[in-house]
Assembly symmetry: C4
């Protein structure tokens, strides 16, 4: 994929998260990676969505973090960079302050898997990070945010696509995927699942998690070698 | 109705459930039946709604389940097929992951009839299926989903249009009707009723069901030989 | 106002309640009255909103209830007629199944006045009717619905515009006003107030009503001889 | 900025709060100030948003409160005037009855800072005013509303932009900013934060406030001399 195509894909992703209702004001950013070219492309910082064109997307060097061009990249860039560096499966990252996912993050509760909607996207509960320490907040805060996410993801195993999202305690959701488009899908699914889980608890405060067999069934019919959902599946 | 007309009706139904806010990403599918032609028409699997045209709708043989054409039918097709085969009154089926109905399905609570909005469409509570067993999940899962729905519907009597919807435990809603248009109406009504019932319980945790006489009155003024609602009614 | 102008105003009102999100499917109807001409104009029964033109609005004789033209009036017409006959101040009636107001009606709780949003439109709590008896449901149900509303309104005094709305137990909201436009405003305000009151109780379960002096202040700055809100006010 | 430009900015602000879903019917108004010209520009009272043009915005003398032109200014003008007179940092004020913020105002609970979404805009909880006395309600009510807001804001210190919003008890939110555009942003942020905080309490009734170090970090990376968020930041 050319840099120009990646910028268009990232620009498009930043529009979709707005259209899907995940973003208020400028509280959201999506990035995509080209590992061959060693570049991460991300939204510029604090610019209104309506004013953005694909060319405004900022290319950041994957190794050095330096960026080209006149616009400064999103202030959350160090978080995106850390996730992409730590997990080779990740091709795109999305951060929003979508309302229901933020509520779970603020309450510091992981989102249990209560149903197949969750299971279709996340092969386990959506975890919450630990809080950052005072030192971590004061020094390289956005980088440290990536560190606590990565730390929490690794507790679930080496494959970051198994549960492609996490809630940063007291902050909000990050989602990712093999491409920036899949990262957007996971961010959308996360917000839907967060809303459904809230209402589920209102109806049954002690609701248990979905049966493990059914959880596996739904995740695996969409992901992995035996997948049979969609037009590209092998099954 | 020609196959081409049925495809257009099913395509339209798949658009209406999106416009009505019942569908996130590609989580929804509607089908319609032509019993004379022995065919069920349904949305293809995992294709974005914006990219669909009426011609993309997939015709499936009602008896064999085989499909024509290049696109694979929705992975939920065996569920639709089973409902249509079991209940001769059904002319269309709609499956979504609409948020409030999913919450009831995840909490495994049937939706009581708390008011006339419910009574206008459902002549009793909207039931929840039992959970599928491990064996049912592993073998022919989507077919088995249809089986547990049919099993639950039959407990309410032979007429599947009396309460034209059910919640699959830990999964979400299926709705149906004499036509695909009526199935869509019932899916829309179900989501509205699920939301209202949640808020009703927040206001009165021990709320009892609607008076039976009033429930009958509302259902029967819209359905059956004495109906007097709408322009085609006899009453 | 000519009959043609009244039909246009009623058609417009029926569109506004849809655009304001108060109506799902065809669950809503608005009517307007011309007392000089002895006519009530109302939406036809069970027709999709998109298919309606001003000419489709049905004129009903205020005294006899007979209607002209090919389309049957809304099945709720007897309720509208009764309210209009009982209260000379009423020039328009709106009935919807708006979600939050329905929840209060289903829980059979009146909506307390918790704030100035409520006070601006309703000079007291929005009341709930008693339940209809079996006899009332079986015989002239829609007329009897008007009777129980009128009965409840009269308990608050002779002026139906003091609190221009009521919740029918187990059913939903009716709102009214001096014109059909004001009836629509009151229906919109009612749904907003119902939603706010639900959330207020979630934050303070024992919340008391707004201070009476403030309630009076807000209602009276908009209504009556001392009003000073808007461009037409005298104050 | 010319008077004509200010009127356009204020008109635009009044449209944005509608498009952002903060305004039902005509329940909202935004104003902007030109201190050099000694003028506050505000929406006229009770006019439908669709009918407004920039020229309809009403210029009010900052000192005398007199207005020019045929349209009467918003009935809430004395509240805006008082805030602008009391706090030299304020360049714009927004008042709405946005649903979730109103719920907190009606419950008379301040909105705690549960997360970084809140911290990005408000450097502390969003406070609630005391109730107005009977005398204050009867005499110069709208002016007195400004007085109780200013009184509450001063309890937090002299800088009104530290926490640029307050909830008037039993009424609803006022927000402000250095410009009318920033006031709108703060009104939008306030409603989002009010919704998230409600859901946070549903998930954790005893949720504590965000860590102070993190709160400071987020507020200060957007505001003040060390800010590094957005394209104009120094950091």
């Amino acid at each position: 994929m050319s840099l120009s195509d990646l910028k268009r894909a990232v620009w498009q992703a930043n529009r979709v998260i707005v259209d899907a209702g995940l973003v208020v004001l400028t509280w959201g950013n999506a990035s995509g990676v080209d590992r061959g070219a060693g570049v991460l492309v991300i939204k510029p910082s604090g610019v209104a969505y309506d004013d953005l064109s694909p060319d405004d997307m900022v290319a950041v060097d994957l190794e050095t973090g330096d960026h080209e061009g006149p616009l400064r990249p999103s202030s959350d860039t160090p978080t995106h960079l850390h996730l992409v560096r730590e997990f080779p499966q990740i091709g795109g990252v999305v951060h929003t302050h979508s309302a229901k996912a933020v509520a779970w993050a603020q309450a510091e509760r992981e989102i249990p898997c209560f149903g197949t909607t969750h299971a279709d996207h996340f092969h386990g509960p959506v975890p919450v990070t630990r809080r950052l320490t005072g030192v971590e907040i004061r020094d390289a805060y956005e980088h440290r945010t990536g560190v606590v996410i990565a730390e929490r993801v690794r507790q679930g195993g080496p494959d970051a696509l198994k549960v492609p999202a996490a809630l940063v305690a007291g902050h909000g959701p990050f989602a990712w995927g093999a491409t920036v488009e899949k990262a957007v899908d996971n961010a959308v699914a996360l917000e839907a699942v967060a809303a459904m889980a809230l209402d589920t608890l209102a109806l049954r405060a002690d609701c248990g998690p979905l049966d493990r067999t059914l959880h596996d069934k739904h995740f695996l019919r969409k992901h992995g070698p035996g997948a049979y959902y969609g037009q590209d599946a092998d099954g």
